[in-house]
């Protein structure tokens, strides 16, 4: 049985990943920001249904001490960590001249620096184990240049570049590092865009609809599983063909 750390597990794509992993018999440390009893009840039901554990872990991605403390807490359980899904992230939209450097730093800090920090901590444990699969949540927003994507797009582009670079460093230790790049997905974050903007994007897509969170989770599960044991440094776009 495999064990996975999933960040941003409380909603949207992260929630679908928790559901998919649990249904495949994977135990999960489900990480999110705010303690939530309703969520914990859902975790408990899911865990019981599939015979796995789902332990809630709360930390603040913007606070390095909080991140380190949470990871240490997970490692203290002395269980192998086979999978890390760096899914948590924040949206941000705004033209360059309307984006403060403070906002730019905040987005880059959470969507990029913190993700790398988690990879550092978890990969050390995976190196000792001699195996592991890391999946970072990229975005087509980091591949496709559009106005208003400066902060978010740059942060995701950086994370996807790190995915490729780090895959070269961790491959010799048996650790695979890949990314999934979702397009427009039917989540709170996907609804961050104005309707008009979303309509414009959808009209240019071969598959003219928003994706479902479970469609992203399916790709994440594929990269987490042994089915993809020779795939590393790859970025799989799950975007209805938005970028080909």
């Amino acid at each position: 049985m495999a064990n996975a750390i999933v960040t941003g597990a409380s909603r949207g794509i992260g929630r679908a990943i928790v559901e998919k992993f649990a249904s495949e018999g994977i135990c999960i440390w489900a990480c999110s920001h705010n303690p939530d009893t309703e969520l914990e009840v859902w975790y408990a039901g899911l865990a019981e249904k599939h015979g796995v554990f789902i332990r809630p872990v709360y930390f603040d991605l913007a606070d390095e001490q909080s991140v380190s403390g949470a990871m240490k807490g997970i490692f203290a359980e002395n269980l192998p960590v086979d999978i890390l899904v760096n899914n948590a992230g924040i949206p941000s939209g705004g033209l360059m001249n309307m984006t403060s450097t403070g906002e730019l730093r905040r987005v880059l800090d959470i969507n990029f620096v913190s993700q790398v920090r988690i990879m550092q901590l978890v990969s050390r444990k995976m190196m000792r184990q001699g195996n592991g699969s890391i999946i970072n949540m990229g975005s087509v927003g980091g591949l496709e240049a559009r106005p208003g994507y400066l902060a978010y797009g740059s942060s995701k582009a950086a994370l996807m570049w790190a995915t490729r670079s780090v895959s070269k460093e961790l491959g010799p230790y048996g650790i695979r590092v890949n990314a999934v790049a979702p397009g427009l997905v039917d989540t709170d974050m996907g609804s961050y865009k104005k309707d008009e903007e979303a309509r414009k994007i959808i009209s240019g897509m071969p598959i003219q609809r928003k994706g479902e969170p479970m469609e992203i989770a399916n790709a994440v599960y594929f990269l987490a599983s042994d089915e993809s044991s020779f795939i590393t440094g790859s970025i799989i776009n799950v975007d209805g063909g938005r970028i080909v």
Binding site: I207, A219, S234
Partner: protein, 243 residues
Amino acid sequence: MNVIVTGANRGIGREISSRMLQEGHNVWACVRESDGEWLREMQSFCRRDGQWIRPVVWSGLTDRDSVRHAAGEITGSGFAVDGLVNNAGVTSTSTYMMTSMEEMKNVFEVNLFGTLLFTQYIAKKMIRQKNGGGKIVNIASVRGIKPEAGNISYGTSKAALIYATKVLAIELADYNIKVNAVAPGMIPTDINASKSEKLKDRIMEETALRRFGEQKDVANAVLWLLHFSNVSGQVICVDGGYV
């Protein structure tokens, strides 16, 4: 699911066919020769009543009449075609200055023109059939992405196939047909047997996982694309982190 696999009796094609059969799907196996031993082995993978593997014998992708005839055999069978795996291909290794245009044309004839012609026939069927749609997976190569000396014919043919994959993904999306490619890296098959030890060592050094892949790794990615719904126009490198 009813799926066509070209080049189905060797290497990666054989692996894909056997895996599809083991999962309970039906397979049209396009081959140049159908030998009894191979067919019996494939039939042994069938696990339910009525499940089938049908060899479709053609004289290869360079023969347009044969391609048309093979496509007709499949599309006229009365079964829906849910998937097409364009696996058949030829390799060619020679430096640019030593490559005749005839050789290049031959490689393109198989890896691009023949493949696209066959795909046209099958896509027409996918468009017309009830609850239209289907999945097409092209077997490309990391050689079509990362250039390497001595690969002018093979590499450019696979690069063209990758481009074609993306165009088809756009054009066929309206008909609910998803088109993707898998780009294998160094997989020990007949097609890679001719590579020098020196070249293999260098590729190994550049491969993050420090090992070569297996045919099942490629089959896993193909099967995933055949089953998955919201991915189109993508190229999945199964290369241990080489590209």
